[in-house]
């Protein structure tokens, strides 16, 4: 039997989370002929998820259904994954780096006395078959490679959005229904409440105009809003812009806010702090407007304009209004 690469499948609100599908695809690519890819699926109603998982690259599904598993809970899920791991001995377990995944994966690792690498943005095997887990280094524009050389299994949480989804509708596979014993329930679950996410405009926009603490006035923010409108884009900002009440929290870009990938990102009055920039670094083109020519943002931008936004933005608005037919 081939060793297995496992992907924990997170479902929410009756759907599979995108990152789980992405990870199945990446696991399939890494597996080649050497491994089998197994999807670990727990919940209360699993049938709708089987074919999407096979189509995404799973060779096998381990399925365990129980009404108590309708949504994630720390007193049950890690314990079940550990029971399963002890029985089938996977080589690797990948988990999406969502709030849920980042609760589950370290707990599983601690129960199995192994390592868990958090928040990877790349995972692959090197020539010797060692799993390389790449994480951003703290606060600087460097990456670190982390390995788990002597412990079993290797566990990593991987960021959403780094791997493409695969889809092959002709694929099918084996479903293994499990009988596990539910551990004693220690949390009393009340409800799972879905909240409308307002950030979709930001995440889906192909142009994002963002302001920082350098804006500081209603007129300034009105100008940025107009620029965003003329570019058919969305308006976002930094932590200070949220803290000072200029934009809602849902529009914050960065480590603790939204991760965006627009074609064009225009940063205005933003210094370029790493906690902010991790949210925008995947933009195709970055434009920075800042009055301080030493601002770190210029090192991270494609085009920089050194100047006061109060001068530059009106010129941009003018340009767009007069040349509207061109764009």
């Amino acid at each position: 039997m081939k060793p297995e690469i496992w992907v924990f499948i997170e479902t929410r609100w009756g759907e599979i989370m995108a990152v789980s599908i992405e990870l199945i695809g990446q696991a399939r690519k890494l597996a080649l002929q050497n491994y089998e890819v197994a999807a670990i699926l727990t919940g209360d109603n699993l049938n709708p998820f089987f074919s999407p998982l096979f189509e995404a690259g799973a060779d096998k599904i381990y399925a365990f259904a129980h009404p108590a598993l309708a949504s994630y809970r720390n007193d049950l899920y890690p314990n079940l994954i550990v029971q399963l791991a002890n029985k089938y001995k996977p080589a690797v377990i990948f988990v999406g780096a969502t709030t849920v995944g980042r609760d589950l994966a370290p707990a599983v690792a601690a129960l199995l006395n192994t390592g868990c690498v958090a928040d990877c943005c790349q995972v692959y095997f090197d020539a010797k078959g060692e799993l390389l887990q790449i994480v951003p280094a703290f606060g600087i524009h460097a990456m670190a490679t982390i390995v788990t050389p002597n412990h079993w299994p290797k566990i990593a949480t991987v960021r959403p959005g780094v791997f493409p989804k695969l889809k092959d509708v002709s694929r099918t596979g084996k479903i293994e229904y499990l009988s596990l014993s539910l551990p004693p329930e220690r949390l009393i679950f009340h409800e799972a409440t879905r909240e409308t996410i307002y950030h979709s405009s930001l995440v889906e926009a192909s142009v994002v105009v963002a302001g920082g603490s350098g804006i500081g006035s209603q007129e300034g923010w009105d100008m940025l809003q107009e620029l965003a409108m003329l570019l058919h884009g969305a308006l976002g900002g930094t932590r200070p812009a949220v803290d000072d009440g200029w934009i809602p929290e849902s529009q914050m870009i960065g480590q603790s806010g939204q991760i965006i990938r627009p074609d064009l990102y225009i940063a205005v009055g933003i210094s370029g702090d790493m906690q902010h920039m991790v949210g925008a670094q995947d933009a195709k083109v970055i434009v920075a407007i800042n009055k301080d020519k030493r601002a770190p943002i210029f090192q991270q931008a494609d085009y920089g304009i050194v100047g006061d936004y109060k001068v530059i933005i009106p010129l941009m608005l003018n340009f767009l209004k007069n040349k509207e037919e061109v764009f």
């Binding site: 929410r12 609100w13 809970r73 720390n74 007193d75 890690p78 709030t99 980042r102 609760d103 994966a105 370290p106 707990a107 690792a109 601690a110 129960l111 006395n113 390592g115 690498v117 958090a118 280094a137 703290f138 600087i140 524009h141 460097a142 990456m143 670190a144 490679t145 982390i146 390995v147 788990t148 050389p149 002597n150 220690r186 949390l187 009393i188 409800e191 799972a192 409440t193 879905r194 909240e195 996410i197 074609d263 064009l264 906690q275 195709k284 083109v285 434009v287 020519k293 991270q300 931008a301 494609d302 085009y303 304009i305 100047g307 010129l315 941009m316 340009f319 040349k323 061109v326 764009f327």
Partner: protein, 270 residues
């Protein structure tokens, strides 16, 4: 009812202002914490504040626990002024280089040994420099208690249960749980207040206890670098894909050049 025995785990981290390429040792990947003035991990202040508020309604004792270099012993008074009644610093060169598994194991052993009958352990949801968000959930495993991470709302009920919410990206889960339990908290939970003059004065009479492995007697295979299953392999700088081009000329000229460049890049789809 003797009130709640609360332990708050506080990590001292590098001030983001001090972060540069020199602050990480590129051979070991270890942050050179000894060289810098460390600060309380911002989310841990939310945890301390939550503990203080719970203590107001439920009574009891708040104990802070931190693992870190001996140099932070004096900084622990800040924790005391933020509401902890007593602080433990777990500090030993044997603990250095710990990953989250070894860190959480060490913290768990310290808590078990020095805080009897704890009801609640509070951690930040994640730390600024490690930012793994793993120590909380792993500590809960070592202590054998259930855990809820990323808590954004929390209250203590007269019937002896906590009501709380775990914040997700697009909603939340709500739970009730009775002690002992561990929560990791996020910034939406509360707005920590700076210490008053009174708090600062009171902090001087509170105690910081420094604990080494002589006091704990932990198996060296479970602490520090030796107890860490994950290993740093190397560090590399992905080539900047940015052009870093500063436009020149009068403001009008810069704006015109910018739009021309964007157009040739096909950003506006024509």
């Amino acid at each position: 009812m003797p009130g709640l025995q609360i332990a708050v785990c506080v990590k001292f981290v590098l001030d983001p202002k001090d972060v540069s390429e020199e602050s990480i040792d590129s051979a070991t990947g270890i942050i050179n914490r000894a060289k810098y003035k460390l600060v309380i991990n911002p989310l841990d202040k939310h945890a301390l504040f939550a503990a203080r508020q719970l203590q107001k309604v439920a009574g009891g004792v708040v104990t802070a626990v931190s693992m870190g270099p001996p140099s932070i012993a004096e900084d622990l008074t800040e924790i005391l002024s933020l509401g902890a009644d007593h602080a433990f610093l777990l500090s030993d060169s044997l603990f250095a280089g710990a990953d989250t598994l070894a860190t959480s194991y060490t913290l768990a052993c310290g808590i078990k040994k020095f805080i009897s009958n704890f009801d609640l352990i509070l951690c930040g949801a994640k730390s600024l420099d490690g930012s793994t968000a793993q120590v909380g959930p792993q500590l809960a495993i070592h202590l054998g208690v259930p855990c809820v991470t990323n808590v954004s709302a929390l209250s203590w009920q007269q019937n002896g249960f906590f009501n709380l919410r775990m914040k997700l990206e697009d909603g939340y889960l709500s739970f009730t749980v009775k002690p002992p339990v561990l929560f990791t908290v996020n910034r939406n939970l509360n707005t920590p207040q700076p210490p008053t003059l009174m708090d600062i004065v009171m902090a001087r009479s509170k105690k910081v206890t420094v604990i080494s492995n002589q006091d704990l007697g932990l198996d060296l295979n479970h602490v520090g670098l030796a107890g860490s299953p994950t290993r740093f392999k190397d560090m590399f700088y992905p080539p900047s894909k940015r052009k870093r081009e500063l436009l020149s000329g009068l403001p009008e000229e810069m704006v015109n050049t910018l739009f021309q460049e964007l157009r040739t890049k096909g950003i506006f789809g024509q």
